[in-house]
Structure formats: structure tokens, C-alpha cells
Amino acid sequence: MLNLGLDVATTAAILFIVSAGLLMVFGVMKIINFSHGAFLTVGGYASVIVAHLGLAWWWGVPFALAIGFVLGIAVERFIVRPLYARPLDAILATWGLGIIVGQIVTLIFGRGVQMVASPVEGAIPLFGVQYSAYRLILIGVALVIALALGWLLNGTRLGLQTRAVIMNEALARGLGISSSRVRFMTFCTGAALASAAGCLITPLASVDPNMGVPWIVGAFMLVLVSGSSLLSLAVASIVLGGAQVLVSTFVNPVLGGLTIAVLAALLLRFRPEGFARG
């Protein structure tokens, strides 16, 4: 029972970490960045590079943030910006970008599955059960990310401008806020976050050129039901992630993999705002 609860909490944390970057981009720009998976992959390979250089694993995180940010600059400028008025085409173009990044990664690193050693090995005893230490750490990481993003949005000027653009872009522009700058910063931050998330999940999974793809649809559905609110994303991660764990455990892991997508689609049908306040 406690095991199940910890499973739910850690799954929710992982989902939150992976989806936070996508939420930023969707909230401000109202487009779905389908290259999110590619950024996850880039982050994964960042930790591979770090391991190859012989540094401690934790260096991978800032490295991934940096690479993600820089890549985000190029992507925003050349692909996302021209398509701002065509959101469906933006989905396609970012998906195409994901393909391109996957192939380039394959050409450089080879198709093989890489392993990155976990910084924290093994399980720790917690209230009588043995639970994976790294997964527990990720709960903390998710909280840190949530707090950091919350501070960025609520405590800084750029964050204020971002929130204004989220609520009403035309009005924000009318008030003199440079929405293109906000969009640019948001996309780069979202990309950096995605990259960092990719790095953070490597101790639990393997690194290969397509490692990001299975996460896209789940993250995407979570973001759709969350609108543009971090709090909604947290709620969605817990509720839908919990449903996934429950279905995987008690019914069938195959169906468990589908839970998030199916539940989110049904939820949106009846309540298009999802978990966000209506």
C-alpha cells in the first residue's frame, strides 16, 4: 500500500518534471511543441557526454540546461516564429524537427543504447519498505522545479510580463510589453527545462536516439488538461499519473500506458478547460 503510494508520488513527480517545459511553451505561445521529445533526447545525450568526459553525473543537469537553451534559440527563430499564426502547422514542423534531431543524434552517437550510471544507487528503507532512492530524490527535484518556476513567474518582471501575455497577448502588446521577447524567452526556457528533464530521467532509463518519443504524447495530454497553470499541471500529474499507476498495477501495464492519453481526451471532451479554473 505504501509502495503503491510512493509509486504514485514518484510517477507524478517524473511526469511533472518532463511536462513542465512543454507547459511553459503551450501556455504562452498556445502551440504544442512536438519537438519536446527531441529536447528530452538531447538532454539524455548531454549526460552521456558528461559521463564520457569523466565528470560527476550532476554536471549533466546544467550542461543539459545550457544545450537546451541554445538549441531553443535556433528552433524558436527559424521554425516556431514563422508559424505563430499557424498552430497546426507548428505541430507538424516541430514534429519534423524531432525527426531531424533524432537522425542527427543517430549519425553522431550511433543507434546503440547507452547507459548512464545512476548518481545514487540502490534503495533506501522508508517506513518499512525498500524504495528506490533516486525516484524519491526526483520528488524533491519536482518540488524544486515547481518552486523555481513559480518564483520566476510571480517574483520577476519577466514573469509578470509572461503572465500578462498568457492572459491576453493583444492587451499586453498594447501596454508596451514585447510579446515576441516573452515568447522567445519562454520557448528557450521550456526547451532548457525539457533538456534538463531528459538528463534527469537517464538514471532510470536508457539513452537512445528515440528515448523522447514515448514521453511526448503523455506530456502533451497533461499540458492540454492543465491549460497554462503550474498548479493544474501538478494536480493533473498526480491524478492522471496516479490513474496510470493504478491501472498498470491492478489491470494491465499495456492499458496503463494508455490511461493518461485516454482519460485526458475524455476529460477535455466534457470540460475543455481541463483542470484549470474555468
Partner: protein, 393 residues
């Protein structure tokens, strides 16, 4: 040979090597047309990690044969095509090899999906096909022979060892949800029960799944004496092992679907895993030592560790040569029956595909050591493949 992740463009090197060897073989071709052997293999997709080793094994075999005069006086050339490790790609690859390149025979390993997709094309094209990959068994086609193991040969060593030496009575089975995973574990379950053991859990995750959390939780609740897994190659193997170790699972762990190379690359997490197969690099026979030396010499630092998927390829090329020489012709109708009658002494021992298109094999039970090498614990000679294709001859 524990190398960290490589930046080298392995594919480029293989392609270059292939081109060179192709150029070499065509140069050496006499006035007669070369014999073409088609190798449809997963250069991209799930099998792409192991495909280069398979291609290398085929190349070595072809070069050795050509150096001794070829087959029936004709030089041999290889045609490699990418089957994408799946059905759609396999159809294109088989089509291309049989109808465009007009190969004389197909010799390769594929995923079950690719194999099933290619068989109708093989039937239409009437070309001999030697399937060199271990698989779930019972795939039968008039034109196909198999020189790798089936569950009837691989499962028993591990289960027997666990039950006898580790005194395990309860087992937990984990697999990837596809034909091979299910086939292996179904056989394992019935074998365990036949030996008096008990299966306390049998869980599957989709092929591309990487989150074993709920299954691991169930495992810990069931407290089995041993675990046996059969997951898809590549990522699922790696993620399961990692997550098991991260959760602190320490019971004996037998992996039916991992090869030496992947185990090595798993690093410290792989230590202690039991594997069972028809080939490990430490097999101490003259044939294997010669083979390894030749591979080392031919490929040098580009060598991909020979493994249980690539060595059958090497042997299959020789088996084809023997069959053609016995039949005296390349005509498919005569070569097919001849393939059951010939044998070859290769790195894995004597291979003869005379048991309903399959071959008895010597199986090795090994355990992965701390340095990534595999220590052979026991070997079983001449394990019978069982009744795989009763309907065929």
C-alpha cells in the same frame, strides 16, 4: 572490452568496410557471375545495435570462402539491405533483395515481425532462407531453415540451475509483450511447472515501455526465489535491469533475452545476471579460437564482439556452401533438401539442421562477472530443439 559510449560513426565504418569488401570480392570475380547472398538485417530500428556484428560475421565467412575458390567455382558477394527491424521495412528489404538484386539465397537474422513479413515474399520468390536468430519457435516455411536456438533449448539450463543449485521454488516472470517475449515465457512457465516449481507472477510491458515500476512493486510483494525475464533487445533489457537494481532486488536473475554484448554495456548493473545461449566468447575450442583470431585480424579495432546472433550467421554461410556443393547446383529445389543433410563444425560446435529444419546445439549457462565478461558455469551438449515443424517433411 568495456568501452564507454562511442562517438565513432560505427555505421560509416561498417559501410566503408562493406564497400571495400564488396569491391574486393567483385574484383576477384572470375568471368562467371558472382553468387549473391542477401542479408536483410536491422541496420535501423530495434536490431541496429547488433546488426553490425551480424554483417561482419557474414563478411568474414564470404571472404574466407572466396579465398578458397568460392562456391562451385563462383565468387560470392553480399547484398545487405535494411529491414528496419520490422514488418514494413522487411517487406521492402526482401522485395529488393529477391526481385531487384536477384540473390541466390537469404541468410540473416531478423525480429519475428520482420521474419513473418518476409516469408510470403520468400515463398513467392522461391529462394532458400536460413534464419540465423534465436526466436520463439514453430515458424515453418518450405524454404526456411533455422540454425539458432529455440526456447526448448535455452530455457531448461537456467531453470534447472535455479531449482537445483539455488534451491528456488517460486519464480517471477517478466517480459516484453510480443511474440518472442510471450513465447519464451509461456514455455518457461510450463517447464517450471513440469519440474515442480511455481510461477508466482507473470507480467508484461509493451515493447516500447520503459517504466517497470508497477511490475517491480508486484515483484517485491510476491517475494519470489528467482526472476526470469525475456524482454525485447536494447532499451527494455537495460531499463529493467537498472530499475531492478535501483529497487534493490537481489534474488537470482536469469535473462533469457540478453546477449554478451548488451550485458557488457550494462556495466555494474549486469553483474550476477545468468544468461543462457549457444555462444559465449570464452568457448574453448579450436574452431572458436581460430574464428575469433580471424575476426580480430580482419576487423581490428572496428570489431563488434561476436555473439549469439552473429556467430550463427557465419556458420549459416558455410552451411549454404556445403548444401550447394552437395546438391551440385544453385537450383533452389535441390538445395533445400540438401540443407538438412550437410553439417558444419563452427565456433559453436557441429551444426546440422536436421531436426525439422532446426538444429541440436550445445547450450551454455553463464553468469555475468563484475568486469562484464561471462563466466561459463555449465554446458549442455546436443540439446534437442523439440518438435518445431512436424508438418514439414
Amino acid at each position: 572490452m568495456k568501452k564507454p559510449s562511442s562517438f565513432r560513426n560505427a555505421r560509416g565504418a561498417t559501410a566503408l568496410a562493406l564497400l571495400l569488401s564488396l569491391a574486393a570480392t567483385t574484383h576477384a570475380a572470375l568471368a562467371a557471375d558472382p553468387v549473391k547472398i542477401g542479408v536483410p538485417v536491422g541496420l535501423s530500428g530495434a536490431n541496429s545495435v547488433v546488426a553490425p556484428s551480424v554483417v561482419q560475421a557474414a563478411q568474414l565467412a564470404v571472404e574466407e570462402i572466396n579465398a578458397k575458390g568460392g562456391i562451385l567455382g563462383r565468387q560470392v558477394s553480399l547484398e545487405v539491405a535494411d529491414d528496419g527491424s520490422g514488418a514494413a521495412g522487411a517487406q521492402k528489404a526482401f522485395d529488393s533483395l529477391i526481385f531487384d538484386k536477384k540473390v541466390n539465397a537469404l541468410i540473416s537474422m531478423e525480429t519475428s515481425a520482420a521474419r513473418n513479413a518476409g516469408l510470403p515474399i520468400v515463398t513467392r520468390g522461391k529462394v532458400p532462407f536460413i534464419y540465423t536468430s534465436f526466436y520463439e519457435g514453430r515458424s515453418c516455411n518450405r524454404y526456411m531453415y533455422v540454425d539458432a536456438w529455440v526456447p526448448d533449448q535455452q530455457v531448461a539450463p537456467i531453470v534447472d540451475y535455479f531449482m537445483k543449485q539455488q534451491k528456488a521454488k517460486t519464480f517471477f516472470l517478466i517480459g516484453s509483450d510480443y511474440a518472442f517475449g510471450r513465447g519464451m515465457l509461456d514455455f518457461t512457465k510450463s517447464y517450471i511447472e513440469k519440474q515442480g516449481g511455481k510461477v508466482v507472477g507473470n507480467e508484461y510491458l509493451p515493447m516500447d515501455g520503459s517504466d517497470w515500476t508497477s511490475i517491480i512493486s508486484k515483484l517485491q510483494a510476491a517475494k519470489p526465489d528467482a526472476i526470469i525475464t525475456s524482454t525485447a533487445g536494447g532499451a527494455p533489457n537495460v531499463t529493467l535491469t537498472k530499475q531492478l537494481r535501483a529497487a534493490g532486488v537481489k534474488v537470482p536473475y536469469g535473462n533469457l533475452a540478453v546477449d554478451e554484448g548488451t550485458a557488457k554495456s550494462m556495466g555494474a548493473d549486469a553483474q550476477g545476471i545468468y544468461i543462457s545461449g549457444s555462444y559465449v566468447t570464452n568457448i574453448d575450442t579450436p574452431a572458436n579460437r581460430t574464428f575469433l583470431a580471424a575476426m580480430e585480424k580482419r576487423f581490428g579495432k572496428d570489431l563488434k564482439t561476436p555473439n549469439d546472433l552473429s556467430v550463427p550467421e557465419y556458420e549459416a554461410v558455410y552451411l549454404y556452401k556445403a548444401a550447394v556443393e552437395k546438391a551440385g547446383t544453385f537450383d533452389t529445389a535441390k538445395v533445400i533438401p540438401a540443407l538438412a543433410q550437410v553439417s558444419f563444425d563452427g565456433p559453436r560446435g557441429k551444426i546440422q539442421m536436421n531436426k525439422q529444419r532446426h538444429t541440436p546445439l550445445t547450450m551454455y549457462l553463464g553468469q555475468v562477472q563484475a568486469d562484464g565478461s561471462v563466466k561459463v558455469i555449465e554446458s549442455f551438449r546436443n540439446v534437442d530443439p523439440g518438435a518445431q515443424c512436424p508438418a514439414l517433411k
